[in-house]
Each structure stands twice: as C-alpha cells, then as structure tokens.
Amino acid sequence: MDFDFSDDQKFLKTEARKFLEGRCGVGVVRGVLDDPAQSYDKGLWKAVADQGWLGAAIPETYGGLGLGHLELCVIAEELGRALAPIPFSSTVYFVAEALLLAGSETQKQAWLPRIARGEVIGCFATSERAGVLTEAQIAAKVDGGKLTGVKLPVTDGDVADLAVVLAKDGGRSSLWLVDLSGPGVARETLQTLDPTRSAAKLTFSGASAERLGEPGEGMSLAEQVLNRAAVLLAFEQVGGADRALEMAKDYALHRYAFGRPIGSYQAIKHKLADIYIKNELARSNAYYGAWALQTGAAELATAAAAARVAACEAFWFAAKENLQTHGGMGYTWEVDCHLFYRRAQQLGLVAGGAKAWKERLVSELERRNAA
C-alpha cells in the first residue's frame, strides 16, 4: 500500500509552489480581474509553458515531458491554490486529454507538441444553453465538414486557437476539432462570475471541422474527457480550498474582538474545523481519482465523480466561510476573499455542476451493485 505522492512528486509540488508564489502573486490575478481587455496573464502563461507544465502528462513522443498524470495533479493543486489566471485547464485537462484519448496519430502529432510548447491555447465547447448537457440539448451540427451553431459559455473561447466541439452529424453527436483561426468563427467575450477566467460565446457559421474519435461517440467521449478533467480540476479545487482555509486561519489569529483573537471563539474554531474536514475528505477522494486516472482503472468514472462532488463542496464551503470569517472586510473588493468565492463557482461549473455529478456517481454505484 502506497497511497500518497512520491518524494519526487512532492518535490515538484514544492517547486511549483515556489515558482507560483514568485510569478503568480495576487497582483497578477487582480490584473486580469480589473482589466476587462485582459483575458489571461500572458507573462504567466509563457512562464508556465517554459516550465514544461503544459506537457507534463503529454508523452515525450508528442513533445511533452511524459511525466504522467500524478505529476499533473500536483501542478494542478498549486495552480488552484494560486488562482492562476491562465487557460491551463481548457488547454491541458480538456483539449490535450481529448487528443490523447481520441486523437488520430496525425492529430496528436499536429497539435500536442504545439500545446506542450504553449503555442496553442485550447477550449472545450459543449454547452449551448442553461441546464445539464444532454444529447438532446445539442443543436450545433456539422455538414460536409462545416460546423454551424452556437456554443456558450466556452471557457477561454475568446483566446483559444483550437476548439474541441461537441456537434451532431446526422442524428448523433461526435467530437470535432476546429481551428479557430479559420473563417466562419465569431467570438464574443462574456461577463461571468469570475473575470479572472475568461469565457466566450462562439458562433460557428460553416467553420471547418475535423472529426475527433469515432462518429456518433461524441457524448461518450465527452464524458470520458470530463472524467479526466474532473480529477485534475478537483486538485485545483483542493488547492484553492486549502488556501482559503489558511486565509481564514491567519485572519482569525490576528483579528481581535472583545479583547481576544476571533480564532479563540468556538463559532470560528468549529467553522474552520468544518472547512478542514471537508478539505481532507476532498483531498482523499482526489487522491483516489488521481490513482484511477494514472492507472487508467475501470473505477475512473466513479472515482472522478466522487472527487468532483467532494471538491466542489469543499471549495464552495471554504470560500464562502472564509469570506464570512473576515466579516465586513471580507465583502470588500480590496480584500481577496471574493477571488476565491468567484473561482469556487468557476471551477464548480466549468465541467458541469455538482448536482449532475452526484447523479452520475449514483448511476455508477447502481451499475456496480447490480454487477
């Protein structure tokens, strides 16, 4: 039994934290927050690419470091902790994973090395309207290699070079690769709950689309991509939740009321204990997801759903109660609590909300119990 990261992986984590503390201070995050024209921090993106993180889980044959998913998990945790305002998840957890999962040799050769080098930003375009994504919901369609339809919200869609799009071709849906630099693509940046992570409305009018994976397998492939992304996002969420807990703890130790640190009052102590409990449960579920992702285990669907459900709950709870612990100051623009409150929602919604994942989890359990 060895249910923890290796010393090498922990070293990578420490290095990543040091790196991000230097390159991704809160000033960088606020830079993107306060400037509507800025969708992400280009300097940080470049620096992260130079670290090779974009290709951490991309095999060397495709220009990556070929380290593996466990290494990507520890990087994800640190990116989440730092609220990194870059299109990392869209590019790496969604698009690179989709290519690794379903791409042809040519497609992998064409895109993965450029992704690893940071030359290509990716986005994953599935949603078209409010509500849980279902096959029936999809109106976008491809005819003779040309894509028409509207996708929103598309995280990082306003800055992406390459999109993986879920669209129908005949009756059933498939995944499609769309080079967004081509004609027939209109983008509109959206106002969202978390301006530190951009999102767009993509309107396709006859854009060239190349099929990714088997025809008609779109929903099932999308779900497999979501399972992989859910595990990686869970680490970002755990990183953010732990940081929110540290903020709350630090404030509770140094803020005094009635002559005592507020951290000496049980209302605050127990609130923070509850955050800690949820964070540990989320971390343990995320570790199991990491194991399943790394080993390609049959349990991935269950493990990913459990990791996501626990992580969404933990980050949301930590973010809102950290803000509450800060009292009036926590509600101001100047104090950073709202950055975590916003990001908790962004990460909680980007791969679909927890409610839908609970249903997926229980369906998996039913399958198991039946078997």
Partner: protein
C-alpha cells in the same frame, strides 16, 4: 386568530389607503425593484414632508415634535398600505429610526428643538457613526479620539460601514474620550455636521460592485461641547439607546418570492433525469425554503399583532436575517447547479431570469454580514432571548488602552 381588521383598524386603514391613493402614484413593477432604485433625494424629501403634514410620518411620535400622535398599530397599518404603493426610496430611516430618537432621549432641550422637526419633515438627513475598522462586531471598541480643548472637542479617527454618509446633513458620532478607563466607560456621544471641515466621506467598494456604505474620516474635526449628546463617559449608554431602537424595528418577512423564481428556472432547464421541475431533490429544497420564508412571514405577523395589541414585540424578529441570508445563498448556489455550465454567465441579456440568481449569489455574503454577522446574531439570540451567559470577557475591567488588539 383572524387576518381581518377590527372595525377601528379597518377605518384607519381605509383612511390611510384613501390618502395614499390620492397622494402617491400607483406602484409599477413587481414591488421589489422599488427598493433597488437609486434614491431620488428630492422626491424622497417631498414625500416625507407630505406624510409629515398629514400626520403619517413618525406616527407614534407626539404631534408637538411633528409626529402623528398615534398608536403603534396605526403605524403598522400605514406601513402595510404604504408598501403597496410606489414610494421614493427612504433615506430617513436611520435618522428617524435611530439617531433622532436618541437625541430625543439623551439630548438637551435645545437640540431637540433644533433637530426633531426638520428630521420628521425630511429637511435634514442623519447617519449613524459607530462602527470602526478595528471594531467590527464590537462597537464599544471605538478608537476615534475626542480630546477636550477649551469649549471645544477635537476629533480624529475613522468610522466605517456608514450608510448614507454621503447625503447626510448630520451624524451621531461615538468617540473615545478616555482610554484610561474600561472600554464601556470612556466613550462620549456627539452630533456632528457632516459638511464641516475635517469630515471626509469615501465610498466602500463591495465585491458585488455596488457601494452601499462609506468610510468616514475625521481630521482635527472641531465640535462644540454643546454638541455632546449625554454626559461625558456616558457614550455607551447613549449608543445602547440607539441600538435598541434598531432592534425594535420589525425584521422584514424575507425572500418569500424566491421559490417562485426557482420554480421558473426549474421549468426552463433540465437535469440528467429530465425536467428540473420534476427533480425530487430540488422539490424538497423548495419545500424547505418555502417553509422558512413562510415561517418568517408569519413570525412578522405575530410581531405586528403584538404591536397592534399594544404589547412590546417578543424576540422572534431577531431570527429573520440569519434565516433569510442563508436561504438566499443556498438558493443561489442551487440555481447555479441547475444552470450548470451556463451558471457562470452574469450578462442579464443571456443569463436565466436576467441573472437574478447570479446577483443574489454575489449579494448573499454581504447579507450574512451587514447588520450583524450570523455569529453575532446567534450570540444575541442565545444571550438576550435564551438567557445564556455571555462568553468570557477579557475586555471589561481593564483600561481600554490595555486591551489586547490584533495587528
């Protein structure tokens, strides 16, 4: 038990309604937007004067002070009827609800003569200057210093979370006049002219984007000793009068319309299993939220009944905010889950219900804090309602300057 008026109540209500219909325009919209509209000062002042002249402002105050000389059940009924018509925003609430009553209780005769009537007539607006950055939930920890200088006092310091400071004419200011005695003993209250030199008002930028509160800075502000409200060192006693007036105000019924909104959303979106409106998990939550909103509504009715019967209302009203703020946050978060990926969009042109739930999500944290955090309100319920002991206090018997403080 009966929702109908007594003949006397009915008569008063008819009279009030007739007057309102004659004097106020019919309401437009859903009745909620009115509260969110920006305050139009002139309209507000005009409306306040109209009410005052007709005896409908400060209904329970003596006629001599410009009030209506009426009973509290009358002010309850008028309030209900006024809520049904479109009225301008109310910038007078804090002055007439807290500051001026304090002057009437603790101020000198000259001040009463000077201030009460103009306030009732809407000519002068007041704000309350108690909270400080270092104080937070602990108002008695005020550090704003007032130092005696001949016949004057010189004031330096900062207040925070002040509503309406930017449009107020006067403020009720809690100061520290003696740091060498225990915190509750070294405070003194003054009224100040908000337009005087040495007073600077800055808006507070909230995470929601709005700015409903101010910071107020005092730099060598000079006030006359005659502006003192109550004796030197009696400031906390005076402040308690103000805060008691605040607690007497009936806590609003709270978010009863929320369940309709989320029903609307649920009928527009689907879950993995089908239409969200048929989702048993959502339906259970809707039932729980509805029951809480109804509970608050009927709790308010119980409070109003006590008033109508000429009794002092019980402590029930203290539960309203702690319940409604949490419901607001839970419901908004649930709505995000229903909207799924789409929930991140705040653009009113694209988001379901024009982004109502996204706005609620960003407003809810403020609701849980403003006017007493969830934690402070539970302390108040435990101590004042249930009679449980205060937590151990280390700040009561030492000189204020010796009380430990954070960084």
């Amino acid at each position: 038990m009966d929702f109908n008026d007594t003949p006397e109540e009915a008569a008063y209500r008819a009279e009030a309604r007739a007057w309102l219909e004659a004097n106020a325009p019919a309401r437009t919209g859903n009745g909620e937007t009115g509260l969110e509209d920006p305050v139009s000062m002139d309209a507000a002042r005009a409306w306040q004067r109209k009410k005052a002249e007709a005896g409908y402002a400060c209904i329970t105050w003596p006629k001599a002070w410009g009030g209506g000389g009426g009973a509290s059940w009358q002010s309850v009924i008028f309030g209900q009827e006024e809520a049904k018509v479109a009225t301008p925003g109310n910038p007078f609430a804090i002055g007439l609800g807290m500051c001026v009553p304090t002057v009437m209780t603790a101020g000198n005769e000259a001040d009463k003569e000077r201030f009460v009537k103009p306030a009732v007539l809407g000519e002068e607006i007041w704000c309350q200057l108690f909270s400080e950055p270092s104080g937070g939930s602990d108002a008695a920890a005020a550090r704003t210093r007032a130092v005696r200088d001949g016949d004057d006092w010189v004031i330096n310091g900062q207040k925070v979370w002040t509503s309406g400071a930017h449009f107020s004419d006067f403020g009720l200011l809690l100061t520290r006049t003696d740091p060498d005695v225990p915190k509750h003993k070294g405070l003194t209250m003054f009224w100040i002219d908000m337009k005087a030199p040495g007073v600077e008002v800055r808006p507070i930028h909230q995470m929601s984007g709005a700015s409903n509160f101010n910071e107020v800075y005092f730099t060598d502000l000079r006030v006359k000793d005659s502006q003192r409200v109550g004796a030197v060192g009696e400031g906390w006693r005076v402040a308690v009068v103000t805060l008691m007036n605040e607690r007497l105000s009936v806590g609003g019924g709270g978010g009863g319309s929320g369940h309709r909104r989320i029903f609307k959303l649920a009928s527009d979106v689907s879950t993995l299993a089908g239409p969200a409106a048929k989702d048993a998990g959502l339906r259970e939550k809707i039932a729980e939220w509805f029951v809480q909103a109804e509970g608050l509504k009927y709790t308010t009715y119980r409070t109003m009944t006590a008033l109508s019967r000429g009794q002092t209302p019980g402590p029930e009203s203290s539960i309203a905010k702690v319940v409604s703020a949490t419901v607001m946050q839970d419901m908004a978060n649930t709505a995000m889950e229903l909207e799924d990926q789409f929930g991140i969009i705040t653009d009113p042109k694209l988001a379901p219900l024009a982004g109502a739930f996204q706005s609620a999500l960003m407003a809810a944290p403020g609701m849980r804090i403003a006017g007493g955090t969830d934690e402070i309100l539970r302390n108040i319920i435990a101590e004042r309602v249930l009679g449980l002991p205060q937590d151990v206090r280390l700040d009561k018997d030492v000189a204020f300057k010796d009380i430990p403080t954070g960084r």
